[in-house]
Point group: C2
Chain length 493, copies 2
């Protein structure tokens, strides 16, 4: 323990100087691009509101649901984790203004002494700092007449922007809410070099946490213990306070439930010999998300059938990683993965009676991989920009309709590559009711696999100028995994 | 690690049979008492709504702020952790009805296969189970005309009930919202024997986690590492997925900030030789909260001054624990703690020039302990029932005005006992500006302590028929703490 307590990773991920500089550069880039892409208006400013503490109230109690997490667009531009703030970018003067909530005498005893406003200037590299109560007054003093505000629909949740900025006096400004959301979304899609470096180290620590879990897993444990170990590692060695998303620690048949681990399926099954585990876990580090899945047998030894499915998925992932580069359409990568999976399922004998093209045409890929190949990753786990007014629209064909984006890859995009094969009963039953799919499925072979869950392998990847770089570093070959787990289990006995 | 993976504590805290029986007993008790205390109406039912998944949306994304946490009144009666439910208690028939959200074909792939409704009957020991869409229809079929619904103000947050039950057809029933909140609140104040047992083991595991942190703390670590270790222990050995409240890992001067650790003060200071740490951390186990604070020097060796303050607080706590029993007013316990603290501060030399009574009268207790002695503990960290229409009203005098309850102790109440002494600059500066307090403070002696933070010792206690039982089991004497930490630090070198 002691030796690792301040790893280089912990220091890097929690270096507030680095973070402030990173978000400062993002603001400078936004100023630059705003000239041509956001507005030709004079006396205009960008106004973003941070998350509010009220949103984190645990019902009517005076505790929170969890530690406050900042709204991603505000965090992107300002890097400020404090709740109840506003941020302004004066597009004429290229000045950044941060508005922080007032501190009362009484609240100091509970929340800490009031900081001088200059503390925020230095900490976050913003030009001027005021209290939120002065927002309208300061904006008028600065001669600002137009406010660009956020308004949009998140393409993964279909939910509208949760904060529509409001403050006393807002009516004295002309509000423009048609442009800012897409403008910032497009910026967020292409990561800056500093963001790429930050996401690389973030994924590295989450990778190490997966390895830690692999080294400690064994039958008799509960799924909940795997969640606990992953969180422990990322908190202790990465400084993470939040998971990027709810941990999916699915063993046995649960592996076929894509979002297993939620309150209704709370990672509470005991691992037994022969189980595969599908472990989809990623921590968040100062707002940046990681999203990694590993699948392996809990006793460290693949059965013949487990190996067949695992290597099919691995082949799909490696094929995609070799093909990814700027100019390649994400949809094509999804279809490529589906085709590798279909080919492998033909070899295994689950799919029969047709050519690869026929089976592909009949949508068999999406019967076994009923989700998209991957999604953008950044300040959200399913990061924004998948579908925008400029980007290709959401398709309706089974399989690719699950895609969270259909965009053409560009350098600086960070995206997950997560093919999978699942034996999900409702999905299989539906396919068997569809004659056009059922005729290609050998139910006798399929039945050998039913109830065994699934396999997903998910890595976090940045598109580079010539191809891609995989941030995730975890032993992934069958023999590597078997060696790692068996060595660890032997040592613990 | 391996040896502990399924401790007796883990098994007990995550035994769903026990939990279901516990909540079933609670419902039976509610039926019993409802006859005399809730309503003389015929054809009446209690209707409670569970928390909604939408409340946990992380802004507009399709991830959650954190894993869903159930609303406490609904959880109290039904023990169901699933979001988007309703619960009904038919007061005529003494029948319990659970309404669960519908499951679509498509959602099964993501959330798990649809369970037969009978699964819920068995799992939660309720009489009948339906889907939420049928709520109005079923209530009418059951002949229910009156609905008792929750409406009240939480006395710790001053926030109104966050869910006001609503469903299509609710207007066809007569709603009564004046009685249920206080009725259930009074039930929650007096824990059932099963709840007492559950809270005992919960506190025991959080105690062990504190000991784990003590055994691993050392200078050079970051406060965040202490939070990480506590969470790791309670998750791995207790199955906890949530903290009951944000971890307070305050070192050095931060110890004087009562709610240190929130997003604006995120437990990120490096521990240095000579620091005291004030560690207020408690996990939640299936909805039940623990709340424990320990204070000790991070290098394991008390300085003379640290020992003086620590033993003053310990004396206050032990004095209160000896005096607690049914019939004793909590306000009296608070005043008792304040008087021990004043006496000790006189001995130390910080307070001078007056008798104990004079100093007490001048409110010096609340200058150094500017919070209440403790609060009810249960399904909320600051559990309900502190101030109700029947209970004594909130006082205004400094010191006791911070009390979260003034009630007279009864067997079955679970309450924290958490005296403290803090050197909080804004609070001390205010006192020094008040001549009636300043004249009793020796600033020269005080200055030796300023900047050193504070000390709080907080235990979780149940009132018994003859006194009280302390659930918290952590070495607490100065020599015990020194031995524990020095032994652990020696072993790790
Ligand atoms: Mn993913
Ligand atoms: Mn407390």
């Amino acid at each position: 323990n002691q030796a690792f307590q301040d790893t280089a990773e912990w220091k890097f991920l929690n270096d507030y100087t680095y973070l402030a500089a990173m978000h400062h550069k993002i603001r400078m880039r936004a100023f630059d691009e705003a000239r041509t892409k956001l507005t030709p208006l004079k006396h205009a400013a960008v106004l973003v509101q941070g998350g509010t503490s009220a949103m984190f109230d645990l019902y009517d109690t005076d505790c929170d649901k969890c530690v406050f997490r900042q709204e991603a667009y505000f965090l992107y531009l300002f890097g400020v984790v404090l709740p109840d703030c506003f941020g302004v970018m004066d597009l004429d003067k290229q000045q950044t203004l941060l508005f922080v909530p007032p501190v009362t005498y009484d609240s100091q005893r509970w929340m800490g002494e009031k900081r001088p406003l200059s503390w925020y200037n230095k900490r976050y590299l913003v030009d001027e700092v005021f209290e939120t109560g002065d927002l309208a007054k300061i904006l008028k003093e600065k001669g600002i007449e137009h406010l660009h505000t956020l308004q949009g629909i998140n393409s993964d949740s279909d939910l509208p922007t949760s904060l529509s900025p409001d403050f006393p006096g807002i009516d004295e400004f002309k509000k423009h809410d048609k442009l800012l959301y897409n403008f910032l979304t497009e910026l967020r899609v292409i990561k800056t070099p500093q963001e790429v470096d930050y996401l690389r180290v973030s994924s590295r620590v989450s990778s190490q946490a997966h390895v830690y879990v692999m080294r400690h897993v064994k039958p008799g444990m509960n799924e909940r213990h795997l969640e606990a170990m992953f969180k422990a590692y990322t908190a202790y060695f990465g400084g993470s306070r939040h998971m990027a998303y709810t941990c999916i620690c699915a063993s046995g048949a649960n592996g076929a439930i894509l979002h297993y681990g939620w309150a209704g399926r709370p990672n509470n099954r005991t691992l037994v010999h022969g189980d595969m585990a599908v472990l989809d876990m990623g921590a968040e580090y100062n707002g940046y998300c990681t999203d990694i899945t590993r699948s392996y047998p809990v006793n460290g030894k693949f059965t013949a059938n487990q190996k067949l499915i695992y290597e099919a998925v691995l082949d799909a992932q490696e094929t995609v990683l070799r093909a990814m580069k700027p100019g390649v359409r994400w949809t094509a990568m999804h279809c490529l993965a589906e085709r590798v999976i279909i080919e492998r399922l033909i070899q295994i004998g689950i799919l029969v009676g047709g050519t690869l093209n026929e089976l592909d045409e009949a949508g068999l890929g999406s019967v076994f991989m009923p989700h998209g190949l991957g999604h953008f990753l950044g300040l959200n786990t399913h990061d924004v920009g998948g579908y925008t007014p400029e980007a290709p629209i959401r398709p309706t064909r089974p399989g690719i309709k699950y895609l969270r984006t259909q965009r053409t890859l560009e350098a600086g995009m960070v995206i997950t590559v997560e093919p999978g094969i699942y034996f999900n009963d409702p999905t299989l039953d539906e396919a068997l009711k569809n004659p056009n799919q059922a005729r290609f499925i050998d139910t006798k072979v399929l039945d050998q696999f039913r109830g065994t869950g699934g396999v997903r392998i998910e890595d976090d990847v940045v598109v580079t100028s010539t191809g891609c770089e995989n941030f995730t570093m975890i032993p992934v070959e069958v023999n590597e995994i078997e060696a790692l787990i068996s060595e660890a289990q032997a040592n613990s006995e």
